[in-house]
């Protein structure tokens, strides 16, 4: 089966600033693909080129078999887009908005069913201005699906929403994923990418610096877990090399020990034994597996959200 999206050697500059500096990836039909990266990494530029909203400088791009630079109208007709921070006129009713936008497309989804699916059935006659933030975002999702698209672009779909609403939206996207829609999701939320995406590309300064399933990415990097031990009394200054531990450090008071380990299952018993030997009371123990955030920090030397 042909890829839904093919991108090769994509480049785009604004004046002297190179926003996208050679990006390659493919998205298979039915796949949820995430572009993860900080603001200004080039995610939105890339997506807008794919949506046909922006011309590219060079590279090959095919979206649903179309070149977005040449067949923008045909492409727009077949894709669904949920942009970050869009609005509708205050006095448009929910069902009117759907029917209005549906009229632009050659293929139309059943608006009533779409509303029900997005739990907007009861709000169908409500003015847009009367909706809550989460309801508005659900309307935005509904608008991305009015043409029953094969490919949906979700650009930062939960940015600026409170955690509960974000959770709600995640549920809806997961549902779409279940319905085997192809989705390209951009986000700077790690958990969003981890939870929703089949595959993720980490983007930084216009380049993809890692790509694969979230687990693959975690594994491919150093993949250390972090063990934190809190004791009631200060620990002795001399910290031994625990089994399979890479490095360890003690905080100023000497009560919090952090140990990085590639195999925490082996390191941990060794550690606990050592504490017992020194007659220290173990107050708390915490094991943290590496996240995409850690991967990102490792790869770029900076945090995702500064």
């Amino acid at each position: 089966m042909e890829s839904a999206i093919q991108v090769a050697s994509l480049r785009k500059s604004y004046g002297n600033f190179e926003a996208v500096r050679g990006i390659d990836f493919e998205v298979a039909p039915g796949e949820v693909f995430g572009l993860l990266g900080p603001n200004g990494a080039g995610k939105t530029t890339t997506v807008e080129i794919l949506e046909g909203l922006r011309p590219r400088d060079s590279g090959e791009v095919k979206v649903l078999g179309c070149d977005p630079a040449l067949e923008v109208r045909a492409l727009k007709d077949r894709i669904g887009v949920c942009l970050q921070a869009t609005n509708l006129p205050d006095k448009v009713k929910v069902h009117e908005a759907l029917e209005w936008f549906a009229s632009f497309y050659s293929r139309q989804a059943d608006c009533a069913r779409l509303l029900d699916r997005l739990q907007l059935g009861e709000k169908r006659n409500e003015y847009y201005s009367k909706l809550s933030g989460g309801q508005k975002q659900r309307v935005a999702l509904a608008l991305a699906m009015v043409n029953d698209p094969q490919l949906i672009f979700l650009d930062e779909p939960t940015t600026g929403l409170d955690p509960q609403v974000r959770h709600e939206i995640h549920g809806l996207i997961a549902e779409l994923r279940g319905a085997k829609r192809t989705i390209l999701l951009t986000t700077h939320y790690i958990e969003e990418a981890e939870r929703l995406c089949d595959r993720v590309a980490i983007v930084d300064r216009g380049r993809i610096i890692a790509m694969g399933t979230p687990r693959e990415i975690q594994a491919r990097t150093l993949g250390q877990s972090r063990i934190e031990i809190l004791t009631a009394q200060p620990m002795p200054g001399e910290i031994p090399a625990f089994q399979d531990a890479e490095k360890s450090s003690l905080d100023g008071e000497g009560k919090l020990l952090t140990v990085f380990s590639s195999r925490p299952a082996r390191t941990l018993p060794d550690l606990v034994k050592w504490i017992d030997q020194h007659g220290l009371d173990l107050e708390d123990i915490h094991l943290k597996r590496p996240t995409l955030e850690d991967v990102f920090i490792e790869l770029t030397g900076k945090r995702l959200r500064d």
């Binding site: 007709d77 887009v81 869009t86 609005n87 006129p89 006095k91 448009v92 009229s103 632009f104």
Partner: protein, 732 residues
């Protein structure tokens, strides 16, 4: 196409839910409608002006505010962004905004017109489709301008600033009456888009033509709509992040270019300014007035001791006898007339506008179109609403007649005869004596016709008819005392008379003595000018005049002036009305010239001419007794006979000569209108006649000099005439 239809439908549906749109489209204009309705006396005739102002403001509002600010707001609120990713382009969005604006606006027009009709009794429109079509183009043009504004500003705030910058001047231009604007502002107005909207609309409302007669305005507005929409699509921006370069704001100028071109052209050609003046004049002639409880002198000799006159739409609508009706019930503005006498506007049938009444040669040399306009203004200021020029440069008086006749310039209605028919060396040719040979042929063509045969006379008369003169004047005089003229052959006069009759033109004949009158009567003259200043005219001739219905115009004023000049008196220019209307420098030059050597020698020359006022008075009295129809002419323009008030002096001289005041006043109104052939529309206070009225303090039937104590002049239904007249050049 589907996109367009759903877009238009939704744009409309949304705007109908928008309180601001409802307010600015329907409530706001109605507030202005009733406000201006009160201010401009909508009830009493000002409604046409109100309608044009309100609809102009409405167009500006829906165009600039509606389209301009709205689109910038949609962009600022990230609404347009959502459309950007759908398969829809800028064109349907803009076009549907235009269409929706139009659909919202047209009911406003209907509501305003309906209210104007029901509440203010505006007459039904003859070309409603023209008005709607014209306004549709107007609203599209202004919405296109609004669209460009939205495209070239970076924020809503900026759009509000730009909209206000355009809206406020246009609002002011629409509200300020054109005639009140100083000249420079009238020129500036030609660059302002709303001016063309307003002018076109007024023209259609005032029945000055249809949509098709307003093609310059239609063309300019259409061009703006098309260019504006095209540029709007090109410059359309979906997101506020897409900043526009400062230079792109110049596109706003591009869409205003048609108006710039129009403005430059008009600043040069001025025909739109003229048109606006005419429309403004027409608007100010729309008032409804009730002049009540005055003594009415109807013009035909009848007097109503207590009566009222209703003026509407420039005409006398009704004449009431006895107690006055209620002005309110008639939707009229009342004008108190108690203790005053209302007369038809006076008429002077014998003036020469090309001379100014000065006495030195230098005073004659000045001759410009604006002087002629000033003179007609001076007549109107003096209560003289019609004059007949009987010997002036043909081209310049034809132009003057067009300019005042249309209402572009305010002045007495002008009637004119063509060049004088006389003979080589005859009276009239003496003014050519000092003309350089090179200029003489051109000047003669303007002033004189010297036919040598019956055929030539005939073709000259017919040629003048084609140039639309109002009458013919022939000269029969051989001079008196030391004054000698060649006299035109009586046969030629006859052929002039016959040709004039065929051409439907009244012929008046300048006469010096009895035989001239006899020949004029043989030639079929309609009027005798001067009669004789030195010879008593036999009763038989007056009997013939009465029998043939020929008028007699004794021009006593000019003769009185000749006497004053001989005596070195300036009495003819000392009257208060003369002092008010004559240019001060002219009055001063007369006073200084009176003792100059030039005048001394002229006096010596005049002493050899046997003119006598007593003889002229005797002739007038004889004509009156014989029942001849008398008319008032003054020969103004001659020394010491200044344009404007001379007919008052003429009437005073008549009463002194023994003519009853009522007959005198009738000569200056109804009789004069008959000689001019317009007694079916002026010269009487009668329903259907033009509202040319003069109200004076006291009773001129007892004291003829009361006519100089003017309290009101109404001209073609327009009140407050005097304050608007430009008597002394540009300053008012």
């Amino acid at each position: 196409m589907n996109g367009y239809i759903s877009q238009i439908r939704m744009t409309l549906r949304l705007s109908m839910r928008d309180r601001a749109v409802i307010f600015f489209n329907y409530i706001f204009p109605l507030i202005f409608f009733f406000l201006f309705g009160q201010m401009f006396h909508g009830q009493e005739g000002g409604i046409t002006e109100v309608v044009s102002i309100v609809l102009t403001i409405g167009t500006l509002g829906t165009g600039l505010m509606g389209a301009g600010i709205r689109a910038a707001m949609d962009r600022e609120q990230n609404i347009l962004r959502r459309f950007k990713v759908a398969p829809i382009t800028a064109a349907p969005i803009l076009v549907s905004s235009l269409a929706a604006g139009l659909v919202q606006y047209l009911p406003q027009v209907a509501i305003v017109l309906l209210l104007a009709r029901v509440v203010y009794k505006m007459p039904a429109l003859e070309h409603p489709a023209s008005l709607f079509l014209f306004l549709s183009i107007g609203v599209l043009a202004f919405r296109a301008i609004g669209g460009i504004i939205a495209s070239v500003v970076n924020s809503m705030q900026e759009s509000q600033i730009v909209v206000q910058l355009l809206y406020m001047p246009m609002f002011m231009m629409a509200v300020i009456p054109f005639t009140v604007m100083p000249d420079w502002l009238q020129v500036v107005a030609q660059f302002i888009p709303s001016t063309h909207l307003n002018t076109g609309m007024q023209a259609i409302l005032l029945e000055h033509g249809t949509f098709l007669d307003n093609l310059p305005a239609v063309g300019t507005l259409t061009l703006t709509a098309v260019v504006g929409t095209f540029l709007g699509i090109k410059l359309f921006r979906w997101e506020k992040e897409e900043k526009v370069r400062p230079a792109a704001k110049l596109w706003l100028l591009a869409v205003l270019t048609p108006f710039l071109v129009m403005g430059v052209w008009q600043a040069h050609a001025k025909d739109n300014i003229a048109r606006q003046k005419i429309l403004a004049r027409d608007l100010s002639r729309k008032g409804t007035w009730l002049i009540h409880d005055a003594r009415l002198f109807l013009g035909d000799g009848r007097v109503i001791e207590r009566g009222s006159v209703l003026v509407k739409d420039g005409k006398i609508a009704q004449v009431f006898e006895g107690a006055s009706p209620d002005a309110k019930a008639l939707d009229a503005q009342p004008i108190e007339g108690a203790g005053k006498t209302l007369l038809p506007g006076l008429i002077d049938v014998h003036v020469h506008l090309g001379a100014n009444g000065g006495i030195s040669a230098a005073a004659y040399s000045k001759f410009s179109p604006s002087d002629l306009e000033r003179e007609l203004a001076a007549y109107l200021f003096s209560g003289v609403t019609a004059v007949k020029s009987v010997g002036d440069q043909l081209d310049s008086v034809l132009k003057l007649r067009a300019k005042t006749g249309s209402g572009e310039k305010l002045g007495a209605e002008l009637f004119l005869v063509g060049p004088l028919f006389t003979t080589e060396g005859g009276h009239g040719t003496e003014i050519m004596r000092y003309m350089p040979d090179a200029l003489r042929p051109a000047a003669e063509a303007q002033f004189l016709r010297l036919p040598k045969s019956a055929d030539e006379a005939r073709s000259q008369v017919l040629d003048l008819r084609n140039r639309k003169v109002d009458g013919i004047k022939a000269v029969l005089e051989s001079g008196a005392g030391n004054l000698h003229f060649n006299r035109m052959d009586a046969q030629i006069v006859k052929s002039i008379g016959a040709a004039a009759r065929d051409a439907g033109l009244p012929m008046v004949v300048h006469t010096g003595e009895s035989r001239d009158i006899a020949d004029a009567l043989d030639a079929g003259a309609s009027g005798i000018e001067h009669g004789s200043f030195y010879q008593e005219i036999p009763e038989a001739l007056f009997a013939r005049m009465k029998q043939q219905g020929v008028t007699y115009d004794p021009t006593l004023a000019v003769l009185d002036s000749v006497g004053a000049l001989e005596r070195g008196s300036i009495a003819p220019i000392e009257g208060s009305l003369v002092q008010q209307v004559a240019p001060p420098e002219l009055l001063a030059s007369i006073k200084t010239a009176m003792s100059s050597p030039e005048i001394q020698s002229r006096r010596a020359l005049d002493a050899g001419i046997p003119y006598r006022l007593e003889i002229a008075e005797k002739n007038l009295l004889a004509a009156y007794r014989a029942g001849v129809t008398l008319v008032t002419g003054t020969d103004s323009g001659n020394p010491l006979t200044l344009h404007g008030p001379a007919v008052h002096r003429e009437m005073q001289l008549w009463v002194k000569a023994g003519i009853p005041p009522a007959e005198t006043l009738q000569a200056a109104t109804y009789n004069a209108a008959r000689l001019l052939g317009v007694d079916n529309r002026i010269g009487l206070i009668r329903a259907g006649y033009e509202a040319n009225l003069l109200m004076v303090e006291g009773n001129p039937l007892q004291d003829i000099s009361a006519t100089e104590r003017i309290s009101l002049i109404m001209f073609k239904g327009e009140n407050r005439i005097r304050s608007q007249l430009e008597l002394f050049g540009k300053e008012k």
